[in-house]
Symmetry: C2
Subunit: 154 residues, 2 copies
């Protein structure tokens, strides 16, 4: 567990990527980061549906989804967020300039997601009753980042 | 290391996901899996550019990229590959029906990627001369899967 948290922090502190695919308007980076959030949504959905009684609780499926959330939290973010790939500069993104202007806050919020993912990982196969609190925790980390760093949908 | 390999295998054996977002033509799953491959490409590019002398060797950057490849290999694949999301059934994908018809082979090839990612993780910060062989290994796993399970680009 300690290793996972350490890795998540290490990944988060690398939010200074400068690798660019500028020739295609950061298409690769946008697809990468947006895909990452889809992976998170799909796996949160699996656990969330169980927590809400929409699907039957399945300990193995919950664990796999939780393990995946932790895996995503270990992906280094820097190379996916090159300077100039914000919503004021290019189309197709809701990434606000605060991600770069207040990068410490963005990194802290991503680290909070990783911490919450580890909490879900520890609780996932322990029964339905344990899912609610940890889902609330991770949902809070999603919302905190979206409220600050993601532009509203058009 | 053993834990990582075990996790990769566990994730790979769950290639039987049935969760669907059929109402939008599997848009979420396609964005998720295509984003995943972009993350892999970006991070392989970071290490590959060093291996080819296009960028200066940076042990920390190579390690972060390698750690990310391992993280991606731990993402469960099942929920991103629902039945009916192949290139004969929907637009916007090059995923061939063999992924489902020869799923054991697809799973084995994904597992090979995870094994190669762990090899890169072990070598990444040990110096430039160690990168070539492991890059060759992981590149082979990419090609093996593409040759069998990905349709040619139009």
């Amino acid at each position: 567990m300690k290793t996972l948290i350490t890795s998540a922090v290490a990944a988060a502190t690398l939010f200074t990527g400068t690798m660019t695919f500028a020739q295609d308007g950061f298409s690769a980076e946008m697809k990468a980061r947006q895909g990452q959030f889809r992976i998170m949504a799909i796996n949160l959905g699996i656990i969330g549906d169980m927590a809400q009684g929409k699907t039957e609780y399945d300990a193995a499926a919950a664990q796999s989804a939780a393990d995946t959330l932790v895996a995503v939290s270990m992906i280094q973010q820097g190379p996916m967020w090159p300077v100039g790939s914000d919503d004021m500069s290019i189309e197709g993104t809701r990434a606000q300039t605060t991600i770069w202007d207040q990068n410490d806050d963005f990194v802290a919020k991503w680290t909070d997601f990783g911490t919450a993912a580890v909490a879900i990982q520890a609780a996932a196969s322990g029964g339905l009753e344990g899912l609610g609190p940890v889902m609330g925790q991770i949902g809070g980390t999603c919302k905190a980042c979206h409220d600050t760093h993601r532009a509203p949908a058009n």
